[in-house]
């Protein structure tokens, strides 16, 4: 096993310099995600209009996997409908848990996370931001955890 299959350059880059690492102006959706066991913590805020995620950003602190997953998520879901967000997350989840092989055409840069299927203990890091986004879009007030 080569750990570089997990820590691909794209993940290291987004871990170091997360994109959309800010709260968007006019955000009307918000949720908090916390994994107390490892200390990962994200707050996701989004602007949702007519069922479309017009803008989204996050803040928090966590490991490279958690931060990179949150960062790439904000890039990928921008401009997508609620249903499209669900579908992307569903596929992403299946790929990181090793249920289906990654299809780069469908997943784009999210395919970089496919190496996680060899690291089941770290899947929770990659899915925290996604679950938090879903909670934000669903107006769920309680903090999300994937532990």
């Amino acid at each position: 096993m080569d750990v570089r299959e997990l820590y691909q350059e794209l993940i290291l880059d987004h871990g170091r310099r997360p994109r959309n690492f800010r709260f968007p102006d006019g955000a009307n959706q918000s949720a908090e995600g916390k994994n107390p066991l490892c200390g990962d913590h994200v707050i996701v805020k989004a602007v949702l209009h007519d069922g479309v995620v017009e803008d989204v950003g996050f803040q928090g602190s966590g490991c490279a996997i958690c931060t990179a997953a949150a960062s790439t998520m904000t890039e990928v879901v921008k401009g997508k409908s609620r249903g499209e967000v669900d579908a992307i997350f569903h596929t992403f989840h299946d790929v990181v848990t090793g249920k289906v092989p990654p299809d780069p055409e469908e997943l784009g840069k999210l395919a970089a996370f496919a190496g996680l299927s060899e690291f089941p203990m770290r899947v929770k890091c990659a899915t925290l931001a996604w679950h938090t986004l879903e909670a934000a879009l669903d107006h769920k007030p309680e903090a999300v955890t994937t532990e």
Partner: protein, 417 residues
């Protein structure tokens, strides 16, 4: 050979190569590298002697204890009670009956927090703990306080990770009924001045409870010399099986406490009108215990007794000193906890790499360390870190293990550059 010549011979060295052969888990590769196990503070590996004792108990003397007259039951009972004697000797308890078998340190502390809390605590009384306590010596007391209206008071740690006698003295009051402290910090390795704290606490009339989980593998524990009232340990931290531990309690205090769990073994007589309870130790051992676990725990104590204790302590001290220096030399690495005389564990953070990434990256090189908050969340807040990486030592570790960790950390830094 003359007496003088014999005396001049060096003490038999602690032979770590021989020790390593006793631990079958060490002879495996992880991710195509020979395993380096630096997580003994989470659980220690088991020597073959312990594994054999558990197997023998299950395959030959497989019967319940204290319940039957048949031969297997007698054998099991004798072996179980022999294990209790061994643990009593290990802790230097005055008698084996002061040693109650439980699932581990956590259950021991919950037991004492429940029964002691229930009898000693009232509104506005205080339970004094320290800032470095493991959650298992924090949450049970918090729960006891919630039930009784008592208050939890916390003695601080210094930046170096020490808990001074003065810091504890400052927090002791007339209302302090229980002082519950770790003997050794699982996150920092700090050795607390338990004997002095116990003396102070007793002068104020408080009962002293000690979490000894991390001390027992590294120190010679003497509950009489420390003069503590309760002392909790886990078998699996001292090279024994998981699922077994003990609560030691001074007879005069322990025997007065009401039972905790009810059921078989702990009763003297039962009727629908009234049940009377047994004395120590059965009073606190309801139900069938972890018989093979206790026997394995006893075997671990026998195994440890086969070594020159000073040689073992010197070996671990050398490793800790070597490890602290070697890790400190890694650029961007910060040690968390540098109390003088610390033992067993080295916690650290590396600039720019989250502890969980570090854990995965060094595991890929076959090096097992712990990452996270180590069940000490308030302590993480004290040092303003979300988590740390922790390398913890066992008797089988070597300087080469430390070198492998350092190499793995340097490789991780290279990847995260």
């Amino acid at each position: 050979m003359t007496a003088t010549a014999r005396a001049a011979e060096p003490r038999p060295r602690f032979d770590v190569a021989r020790v390593r052969r006793d631990f079958p888990a060490l002879s495996q590769d992880v991710h195509e590298h020979p395993l380096v196990y630096l997580d003994s503070a989470a659980t220690a590996l088991k020597p073959q002697a312990v594994i054999d004792a558990v197997v023998r108990s299950m395959s030959r003397d497989s019967a319940n204890v204290s319940r039957g007259v048949h031969t297997l039951s007698q054998r099991a009972t004798l072996a179980f009670e022999a294990a209790r004697e061994k643990v009593a000797g290990f802790l230097n308890a005055r008698e084996a009956a002061e040693v109650v078998f439980v699932r581990g340190t956590t259950e021991a502390l919950n037991l004492v927090a429940n029964v002691l809390g229930g009898t000693r605590l009232g509104t506005d009384d205080e339970v004094l703990i320290t800032e470095l306590e493991h959650h298992s010596n924090l949450v049970p007391w918090q729960m006891a306080c919630e039930r009784t209206g008592a208050r939890l008071v916390v003695a601080p740690v210094t930046e170096a990770g020490e808990v001074t006698v003065d810091a504890v003295a400052d927090k002791l009051s007339k209302r302090t009924k229980i002082v519950a402290i770790a003997h050794v910090s699982n996150t920092l390795g700090t050795v607390l001045p338990v004997k002095q704290i116990a003396k102070l606490a007793h002068e104020r009339g408080a009962v002293v409870v000690v979490d000894g989980a991390q001390a027992a593998p590294h120190l010679s524990v003497d509950v009489q010399d420390l003069d503590v009232d309760f002392y909790a340990v886990s078998g699996h931290k001292v090279y024994g099986p998981t699922g077994i531990g003990v609560l030691y309690g001074k007879r005069e205090l322990f025997a007065e406490l009401p039972p905790w769990q009810g059921g078989g073994s702990m009763i003297h007589s039962v009727s629908f009108e009234k049940t009377t309870y047994k004395g120590l130790p059965e009073r606190f051992e309801a139900g069938t215990p972890d018989i093979s676990g206790a026997i394995g725990f006893g075997a671990a104590i026998d195994y440890l007794a086969g070594f020159d204790r000073d040689g073992l302590v010197a070996h671990e001290h050398d490793l800790l000193t070597y490890g602290m220096h070697a890790l400190e030399a890694v650029p961007g690495l910060r040690l968390i906890g540098r109390a003088p005389g610390k033992i067993g564990v080295i916690s650290f953070v590396v600039e720019g790499i989250h502890p969980h990434d570090l854990g995965t990256l060094v595991d890929a090189k076959g090096v097992a360390i712990r990452t996270g908050h180590h069940c000490t969340q308030p302590l993480m807040q004290r040092y303003s870190v979300p988590a740390t990486a922790r390398a913890s030592l066992g008797m089988y570790n070597t300087r080469e293990d430390i070198d492998r960790l350092v190499d793995a950390l340097l490789a991780a830094k290279e990847l995260f550059r």
